[in-house]
Symmetry: C2
């Protein structure tokens, strides 16, 4: 099985698009027909989420390189939501999409290993079978290592939060210590992991860098030459295509751009009625 | 319904113990009888985890103030593991224990809200129904606010990671910026949230501070006078009772101490055969 970096690059080239479609289902934004079935209990709502996400996957599979299910919206519904999430992940993989689960998990040593084993699939035996997972860096390098190791073993991927797209993201990330910001310290660690197995097409380790900060995106592209960059915040969070451009290398590779609400709730605009 | 802080203090007083029993089930450490049933598939293993945790809960309910299920070990088993987790949470609550789910979740605004709504129960309609949740601070104050707000609304609790007990925890947490460490910056934010609704018995917002760093525990007790401190790393991770003492106030309150492997795998020692 191809390493994650190569597999993702192949998808981006095949689809001629670096777009990652976020799967962030929310009750209030579902099409009316699904919203009606979903009302009442968690199980009905989970069924509606699953149906909606499967429909989105079927529409976008030929066009997008990857999907990014947001774990929180499924978790909100309890065990029924988690079953829907597992089904959505499997459906996306069967549809030829790279699946990056947005769970922002982490913990210390053996616990991080449990998360990594559970979520990272590809050629390993994993209960969830995602191709990659987003992880949080606060606990340090030894908390990231189990994810990196298991990703390598299984040809899967890891995206570490470096610079986030929310207005308050700078509170701790922008603190200046030992000559550079905290997010640059995190970026240095990500690059150290990434360069180990990055070939021509980047490796198994990437970073999450918000598109609402284009200067920092350019800075971080340069600081992490071997890391995939996943750029959220495109579209509804205020980032523009021009802002995201700084995340790509000179060959137009190395970054993937997430658009969630702008794509999956497109039916709300007059011209799209796929799910109406 | 009592605010979380009061409810936790009442349990600590009633049980005359600040001990939180970690529920961190792992296959290799289950009693042989359960290990035999658990082999094969995720569903069987999830059933064994549920049975084991319920047995632990029944034994420790009269003695401990709270339990801390570790989400990762259940998540590793996929949707079956999540169903077991939901059952374990409900069983612990019915047994009169405060349930602190160790999920270390976080994300930006609306996504953080989904996690908070899903996990924080008490007097709200929540799919999981935990009394409190651990959360990670890297994304800043605006990512913590939804947890704090929903915790207050529902008389539930939040524990923010401040200083973790793993050997590499200092990589980013100990960076020195603007005259203090990153973890002190996080502590200042936690205290700002905590003091708002802390009464005589602390409020709905707490911090996670590892017992492997007793000096920092004393420093952080002083820096966050209104925050509960959850101390992991006691026992198998190297912390001692003496190390944890610095987390308590002069009345012996304000901290709860987690012991996971030391308690729940006690059957491995000759003198305990509860689950053999």
């Amino acid at each position: 099985m191809k390493p994650f970096g190569e597999a993702l690059a192949a998808e981006v080239r095949a689809k001629r698009s670096p777009v990652v479609v976020g799967l962030d289902p929310r009750l209030a934004q579902l099409p009316q027909a699904l919203r009606d079935v979903a009302s009442g209990d968690f199980m009905a709502q989970a069924r509606a989420y699953r149906e909606f996400c499967r429909a989105v996957i079927d529409v976008i599979a030929p066009l997008a390189a990857a999907v990014k299910p947001q774990a929180a919206f499924f978790e909100e519904l309890g065990p029924d939501g988690m079953s829907a999430l597992a089904d959505v992940i499997h459906h996306a993989r069967r549809s030829g999409l790279v699946v990056i689960l947005d769970g922002k998990r982490n913990d210390i040593g053996p616990t991080a290993t449990a998360y990594a084993r559970g979520y990272l699939g590809r050629d390993g035996k994993s209960a969830w079978g995602a191709d990659a997972l987003t992880v949080s860096p606060y606990l340090g390098a030894d908390s990231l290592e189990p994810f990196v190791e298991i990703a390598r073993e299984r040809s899967a991927g890891v995206f570490v939060l470096v610079k986030t797209s929310n207005p308050g993201g700078g509170l701790f990330q922008d603190l200046f210590a030992d000559g550079r910001t905290v997010y640059r310290h995190v970026a240095a660690q990500v690059e150290e992991f990434a360069r180990v197995d990055a070939g021509r097409d980047y490796g198994s380790v990437g970073a999450v860098v918000g598109a609402t900060y284009p200067d920092q995106l350019a800075e971080l592209r340069a600081a992490m030459p071997h890391a995939w960059i996943l750029i959220p915040g495109f579209g509804s969070q205020g980032g523009t295509a021009h802002d995201a451009a700084a995340g790509f290398d000179s060959a137009g590779l190395g970054a993937i751009v997430n658009n969630s609400r702008g794509i999956i709730f497109a039916y709300e605009r007059e011209q799209y009625r796929h799910f109406g």
